[in-house]
């Protein structure tokens, strides 16, 4: 899957990165080039100092030499420092921007279709965005290394054209040769990243299920499983290490070969008197220096593969399709209609949610309830039939606008925010009176009774609350959002019978008014008893419509709602 990403989105992603950060990246490349040139001049300076000062024993020359060395190092330091600062800014900024793109992509519209686990998404949003942004560093480093090489070559050409020429030809050959090793390394690194991602995903999955895990004593087995994932990851890592070490060995040897050949030739020229001893030292020094930018380039090539693999994974998420695409039509409040819809568990169901009513939907099977909830949410399209809102097919509606009209509170409760107030607010501003009304309707006002009131802090995802409290908070949140159409799926499964009656009353009162329609997909008698109408879906079809008390006469209905 990661091995064959479409090249276009990855390329576009990388291009976009450089475009967005062009100023800081260019500044970094500039300063680092200055640094490289100074680095190249260091061996030249050593040669000059040995030739002019150490060799001659002149004190003035030595004094000038010391001054020159310090001037050179100031330039060198400044170049590196400014370059690193601009680069850090660019990388930090860009990884942040990529991370937010990933987050927005996952959150956008109806979400994305992906077979990645949450843990993997997490690792893409944190590590991969970071690794991809480091592409900017590689770009700057490669530019500056090339400039350093150029300066070294020019100096060598001026001393002796044949040696200079040899380097101009030899070095690109070397780099190209090392480049050819890239794919081998890439195969290993992408396997490594996948294995690490999987081990991390296993760890976070086990931790999230830790409470149940402890309940059934699965800790030992869980630890054993993580150990297995960790060992797989270790094996992949070691494969990459061996490939990397081979690569280092080969590149070290080739640069060593280069230095030796240059030194031997220069030595021979010096013996013949074609160049001076100082020039020989410069050449030998430069030949040693040259290995730095060459190794630097090689290292960039090596890391390019890793960064690219990360960029590909980020691009894959960004390019992931939506499960159901959004239309463009504006949504208006009105009747929400299922017209002869077919879906798993639904065999031609028609029902209308009229403005102003409290509608109960009773199903015999969970899959039917799931289907109706999903269809009302616009999260899926029916296999056959149509879902319309105010006579417009839901599939044609703009998703964002649809969600301002229809709210379907998921049954699995997820709470966001650090305080009670934050948890309840979902986008609009509400005054405290409204907030308190909604929590009172959902019977969780007790949570706000403390000294901190609505600013009471909640631990991570409301984990310090009981299941019933969490469920009721989610209900209060839905009531507070106050959408024209609100669909609640089994909102009282985790509360006791007395509270359930109170909640039923609270929901009824909170949702009065002609502009508000409420759908309760439930089999709870207290809730259904307060509905204006109840639709009973039996064997995938609408079997009856009426008041709860009247429907109780039907044995099939009574069996489902009475316990």
């Amino acid at each position: 899957m990661t091995d064959s990403p479409a090249p276009a989105p990855t390329g576009r992603l990388i291009g976009g990165m450089f475009r967005r950060q062009r100023r800081d990246t260019a500044l970094c490349a500039g300063f680092w080039s200055l640094h490289q040139v100074c680095e190249a001049l260091v061996p030249v300076a050593i040669g000059v100092v040995i030739d002019q000062a150490v060799g001659t024993g002149s004190t003035t020359a030595m004094a000038w030499s010391v001054l020159g060395i310090f001037a050179l190092f100031v330039a060198l330091t400044m170049g590196w420092r400014f370059g690193f600062w601009f680069l850090s800014k660019a990388v930090v900024q860009e990884s942040h921007s990529l991370r937010m793109q990933v987050v927005r992509r996952v959150l956008t519209g109806r979400g994305i279709r992906t077979n990645r686990q949450n843990g993997e998404l997490l690792s893409i949003a944190t590590s991969d965005t970071q690794a991809a942004a480091e592409m900017l560093e590689l770009g700057s480093r490669m530019v500056s290394a090339l400039i350093g090489l150029t300066v070294a070559t020019v100096v060598l050409l001026r001393i002796d054209w044949s040696l200079g020429l040899g380097l101009v030809v030899g070095v690109p050959l070397l780099v190209l040769g090392l480049n050819a090793l890239g794919p081998v390394v890439e195969r290993h690194t992408s396997a490594q990243q996948q294995a690490i991602g999987r081990a991390a995903a296993t760890a976070s999955d086990l931790l999230r299920g830790l409470r149940p895990l402890r309940g059934f004593g699965g800790v030992d087995e869980a630890a054993r499983r993580y150990r297995a994932a960790s060992r797989t990851s270790l094996r992949a890592n070691l494969g990459a290490v061996r490939a990397g070490a081979t690569f280092v060995g080969v590149s070290t040897f080739t640069t060593g070969l280069l230095v030796t050949v240059v030194a031997a030739l220069a030595g021979w020229f010096a013996l013949q008197g074609r160049i001076t001893v100082g020039e020989l030292i410069t050449i030998v020094g430069l030949a040693t220096f040259i290995s730095d930018p060459v190794l630097n380039l090689a290292d960039c090539v090596f890391r390019l593969a890793t960064a690219r693999a990360s960029a590909a994974r980020v691009a894959e998420v960004l390019a992931a399709p939506e499960p159901a695409p959004s239309g463009g039509a504006a949504a208006r409040p009105g009747a929400l209609v299922l017209d002869d819809v077919h879906a798993p568990g639904l065999d031609g169901v028609s029902l209308t949610v009229r403005p102003g009513e409290l509608l109960g939907v009773v199903t015999e099977q969970t899959v039917t309830a799931d289907g109706i909830t999903e269809l009302l949410a616009g999260g899926r399209h029916p296999d056959r039939g149509e879902v319309t809102l105010a006579d417009t097919p839901v599939r044609d509606l703009d998703v964002a606008a649809l969600r301002r009209i229809v709210l379907v509170e998921p049954h699995a409760v997820d709470l966001f925010g650090a305080t009670l107030r934050e948890v309840l607010h979902t986008g609009d501003d509400h005054d405290d009176a409204a907030v308190r009304r909604s929590i009172a309707a959902a019977c969780v006002d007790v949570l706000a009774d403390g000294d901190e009131g609505l600013d009471r802090e909640l631990l991570d995802r409301g984990l310090d609350l009981s299941g019933g409290q969490r469920q009721r908070l989610a209900l209060a949140r839905a009531l507070l959002a106050d959408r024209p159409i609100t669909v609640l799926r089994d909102p009282t499964t985790a509360v006791d019978a007395v509270t359930e009656h109170a909640i039923a009353e609270g929901v009824r009162e909170h949702r009065t008014g002609d502009a508000r329609a409420t759908v309760l997909v439930t089999t709870s008698a207290p809730l259904l008893d307060r509905c204006d109408r109840v639709v009973f879906v039996h064997a995938g079809r609408v079997a009856a419509v009426g008041r709860h008390r009247d429907l109780l006469a039907r044995s099939a209905y009574a069996e489902v709602v009475l316990r």
Partner: protein, 583 residues
Amino acid sequence: MSDPTSTILPVATGRATLVSFWRSLRRHPMLGWASVAASLAASAAAVVVPLLLGRLVDLVVAAGTTRSLLLTSAWILGAGFAAAVLTGASRWLVTEWGMRACADLREEVLDHALRMDSARLENAGSGDVAARVTEDVEQVTDSIRLAAGVFIALVTVVVTVAGFAALDWRIAVAFLVIVPVYALSLRRFTPRAKRLYAAERQAAAVRTQHLLTTFGGVRTVHAYGMQQRQSQRVERASRDAADARLRAVRGFLWFANMMNYAEAIGLTAVLFTGFLLVRSGDSSVGEVTAAALLFHRLFGPLGMLLMSFNDIQSAGAALARLVGVTEVDVPAGRAGELATRAPAGITAKSVWHRYADGPTVVHDVTIEIAEGESLAIVGESGAGKTTLAAILGGVFPAADGAVWLGGRLIGDLGPDDLRRTVGVVTQEVHVFAGTLADDLRLAAPHATDEQLHAALRLVDADGWVAALPAGLATRVGDGEHPITPGQAQQLALARIALLDPPIVVLDEASAEAGSAGAHQLELASQAVIRGRTAIVVAHRLTQAHACDRVAVMSRGRIVELGRPDDLVEAGGRYAELWAAWRR
């Protein structure tokens, strides 16, 4: 800890971190010795190259023969080749050494995270632990490569100084002038860096927590169309992490500057000493060249050391956070003989409980549940039902009072013993990633497929499991084949059936199913309860009514206790609830 967030997991001190990592390294002595030997040899070979180059200069100055020039060149080539092979080998060995140690460590970390006492884990928040076992582990793993480089660079520096000494001891002394410069800068930088990097890690942990919540709750975000709001939350956290990172970079740059000036000072010192030595005739131009080249060659390793100081410091912070997890005490698994699966009753005497700094949630509960008896706990939310059930199930110890399971004090049971005695279904349901069979085998690793099927049949889940695309081998969990909350509850019950303990504690077992599936789940839990001592936290009164006895809780106390029909007849609290339920 000066940190305002004192509930967060401990972070190990620098010393403890070092000791702990050293212990991990020592577990692989062969690799260790091979690594040290290869690194020494590689550095020695690398140092020989400039020394030979210096000899080449001397040879030219002395107008030697072409033959001797060729011979020297051949030596250089040979040394270069040896250096290359040894460098590759040392890189491999050192990295493998570190990685094996790191794998040992991360397994130990997760082990501790899984076994840590619940109160601490929940105070810390799942994000902090998750960040440690994912991001910190990854950072430490990634840094192993770097740390290997640092190790090799250090060896190179040491060997090079020996090389200086081989040329002339006075040059080696001149080189050493950089040591105080390094030491002073490090002393100023280290405490600052520690603070900066710790802040950076903390900000990253907060970011992870936000990302986790967001990805986990994506359905809710969509339902409310609150992508804007939620991405702003993540954005703020991510921005804070970015700012913390840049602050750390700024601190590091000052340090990097000092390192460059140290290089300038060192080079000047070496050249100046060479200048004096050549003038007094104690040294040749070639030797000074070799010294200058050697020193110049050190720029690489020294630069590597300083460049990576940044990452090594933050990796050190990550490592300290990992070791911090391993320092948390976990209840030890007892090696002693395990309790046989014997029938067991439950006795609780004067049990009190309060969460840290919270109000008392369980008041003086004394209760005795006979072998094979089932007890339902009912009451309003917040009455203390879950807490009492958790205490009786050994999930966490009571603040005061005593609980006996099958005649043995709960504190005397080791974790293994405890789980063999009592199985708990918690309020949270989780479908573990992997195949369905993997999920079930978490509870009973050695169960055969036949046993798995039997457990599924018991909880009436065999039907839908058979209808899955690959049956037991279907992949479930995050992003895989979807499992409804009701099905997940059935799986939770099936796991308990596989575990087959004499005592079960079921907390809101029907809560997540939605009412359509509730009846089915009630039957499933009854099947699991049969033949065991059971405590059922019941929200659906039919469930309570099916138990032998009912305990009604209110404000942390048991206010009524008796057979359900008797309680209804008595006309108290339970009768009231029952009437409301039947309405």
